[in-house]
């Protein structure tokens, strides 16, 4: 099937060349980072994680969000999704690849990464996170590839795949739960220390992942002769609508607990993010923008009139994707580290090189995604013809 990925139109080639150029630029900056050290980033003694880990966290969500098309089809026999499960699985593959790359570019000594397996440490959540992420990647590659191949040959997929498919569903939940546990089990980090962090991560994942899928479906319909289907897109949109509502609800629960209890260690991080602390508040406009985007997203997706208009739906999905990205990708990490454990406010601002490397990783993910979707769409077109 791989040949489908290299036979394409001029536009396809143009797009892939563009992505390769962005990857190349990011890679060059990464070489600089390897040589100089992580000092070229905005990270510091106080904000020891930043843009890379934030994007990693967000993308684990997107990967887990893919399960939202797999679950209804396989568990509830929702036939309509049969057409798009492969898109969910391939999206998960591309996202997990980005996640793993983000972890790698974040390491100070990437050459030693195998120490994680040489000296396995079950009490470290990071150890488990590497395991579940790789497991999820493998599961999706095996399932996605074989199911698609079966579809191409017009046969039912192999029987042994079934248990793997069932396994992949709780596994998707696990990758984001474990990722939340990275943060919420740390004493002295009041912002993250809440049992609702994992549910919050999951709800925002189930909004951002399917939102991206809706957008991708709309694009596929435009650039190919395969139509993912109106019903499918509408069902996905409903999932987005519920998930983003739950996400904002969870956020408000957190806000209540933090501001009603008024415990400074928990409250100060929220203050820093939303109104600024000791005169510093680089994230204030971003956080309000994120909230606004999410609320507009809710209005547009919950209301059937706007949801059913695919043009409006596309806008809503973009807003939701951006809103959750700011919330998780910017605020979640920076907010957790400011103020620092000694209650100083030293702000974290990503630097240009850091952003370029991150863009390179995103481009790499989209390169993989484009190739995989090209294959999937190619098979669908073939089968239909």
């Amino acid at each position: 099937m791989l040949e489908l990925a290299i036979k394409g139109s001029k536009r396809y080639y143009g797009w892939m060349t563009f992505l390769l150029a962005v990857i190349g630029a990011g890679f060059l900056v990464y070489l600089w980072q390897l040589d100089f050290g992580l000092g070229i980033t905005g990270l510091s003694r106080d904000a020891s994680w930043g843009f890379y880990i934030a994007n990693f966290t967000f993308l684990v969500g997107v990967a887990a969000g893919g399960v939202m098309v797999v679950l209804p089809y396989y568990l509830h026999d929702y036939k309509a999704f049969g057409k798009v499960t492969i898109l969910g699985e391939f999206l998960a593959i591309a996202s997990v690849i980005m996640c793993i790359t983000f972890i790698l570019v974040d390491l100070g000594q990437p050459m030693r990464v195998f120490n994680v397996f040489l000296y396995p440490t079950p009490n470290s959540v990071l150890f488990w996170d590497t395991i579940v992420l790789q497991g999820y990647l493998l599961l999706n590659i095996i399932i996605g590839w074989n199911v698609l191949e079966a579809e191409r040959n017009n046969v039912h997929y192999q029987r042994w795949l079934k248990p793997l498919i069932y396994l992949s569903i709780p596994w998707a939940i696990s990758i984001h739960t474990v990722t939340a546990y990275l943060y919420c089990g740390l004493p002295g980090r009041g912002f993250w220390m809440t049992a609702i962090l994992a549910p919050r991560f999951l709800s925002s994942a189930f909004a951002s992942g399917p939102a991206l899928l809706v957008l991708l479906c709309l694009i596929i319909r435009r650039v190919s002769s395969f139509d993912p289907g109106r019903e499918q897109i509408q069902s996905l949109a409903k999932i987005v609508a519920y998930a983003i509502c739950v996400n904002v609800f969870f956020f408000l629960c957190e806000v209540f607990v933090v501001f009603y209890s008024q415990i400074p260690e928990h409250m100060d991080h929220f203050k820093y993010l939303f109104v600024g602390l000791y005169g510093k508040g680089a994230y204030v406009p971003w956080m309000w923008a994120s909230l606004t985007l999410m609320v507009i997203g809710i209005i547009l997706t919950v209301n059937p009139l706007t949801r059913k208009n695919e043009g409006v739906l596309a806008v809503a999905c973009v807003l939701i994707f951006l809103g959750t990205w700011i919330d998780k990708g910017l605020g979640m990490i920076a907010g957790g580290f400011t103020p620092n454990p000694l209650h100083h406010v030293n702000e974290y601002i990503p630097t240009l090189p850091e952003i370029m490397i991150a863009l390179g990783v995103w481009a790499m993910g989209f390169l993989v995604l484009s190739a995989l979707f090209k294959i999937a769409v190619g098979v669908k077109e073939e089968v239909r013809a």
């Binding site: 050290g37 990071l126 740390l186 400074p264 000694l342």
Partner: protein, 261 residues
């Protein structure tokens, strides 16, 4: 026919496996022999304890100047670089205000002299250290023999999970090659390379040769070092006879650095 052929193949495979294992076994045997010849032991002067602990008599310090010699002693012998860029700063021991060193413990109105006085902070060598729990490679570990929370710089992958886990901001990361920023290198102690985390090591290298930590030695008696679990130790005596506090005690990390206020 088929099954017998398979049988032959199985036998072949097994013996091949056996052949390839043999040299490995031999190598093991050889190594065991050599290890039996050479031995490893503790130094005779090495100091030992069940859990090393420190008591800081904060009353003995009034201004930054009083702390300067301690901090300098530590940073000098451990080749801690001085980086101008605040983001890349590396420090093993430093001072801060009372409400920063002990957030949550500062009353709204504090005695004037406590408010003005700097307080000494360093790694607490916690008895229940979250940094050790977080480290995915055991590069940060709690040494069984004496409770020091140590770093194995050779193994650290620079993921900085330990920095997120430490509630005391005790850890620093080498954001760039530290060597050009070490004014005077102590050639007896290694430097670090870029990309690894570092922090106070309770002077494990000095304890091993029977010396007290450098900051304690330079403190003129204001810092006391000893075994927390030896009821007759000096630190226990101080803790028994003075009111002491520890940083962020409510988090349950059980810091081993005690402060007499």
């Amino acid at each position: 026919m088929d099954s017998s052929r398979r049988r032959v193949l199985q036998l072949l495979g097994l013996s091949a496996l056996g052949l390839s294992v043999k040299p490995v076994l031999n190598a093991f045997a050889e190594e065991a022999e050599q290890q039996a010849q050479a031995q490893i032991k503790r130094g005779e002067n090495a100091l030992s304890a069940q859990q090393w602990a420190m008591v800081v008599d904060t009353r003995a310090f009034e201004s930054e100047d009083d702390f300067a010699p301690l901090i300098e002693a530590c940073h000098k012998i451990h080749n801690v670089p001085v980086l101008e860029n605040k983001r890349h700063e590396i420090k093993w021991i430093w001072t801060d205000h009372f409400h920063n060193a002990f957030p949550g413990k500062a009353a709204r109105f504090l005695s004037e002299e406590v408010e003005k006085r700097p307080f000494l902070v360093l790694c607490n060598h916690c008895e229940n250290p979250p940094c050790v729990r977080a480290c995915p490679t055991k590069a940060t570990f709690k040494r069984e023999s004496d409770g020091i929370v140590l770093m194995d710089f050779h193994r650290c992958i620079g993921c900085r999970f330990c920095m997120a886990a430490c509630p005391f901001g005790a850890r620093s990361f080498n954001f760039r090659d530290p060597r050009p920023f070490i004014k005077e290198t102590n050639k007896q102690f290694p430097t670090r390379m870029k990309g690894v985390v570092e922090k106070c090591n309770f002077c494990a290298e000095r304890l091993a040769v029977g010396q007290l930590p450098a900051c304690v030695a330079a403190s003129d008696g204001a810092l006391t070092f000893g075994d927390l679990y030896d009821p007759a130790s000096e630190v226990r005596e101080l803790i028994r006879t003075n009111f002491t506090i520890r940083r962020k005690q409510t988090l349950g990390t059980e810091p081993s650095v005690y402060y007499i206020v």
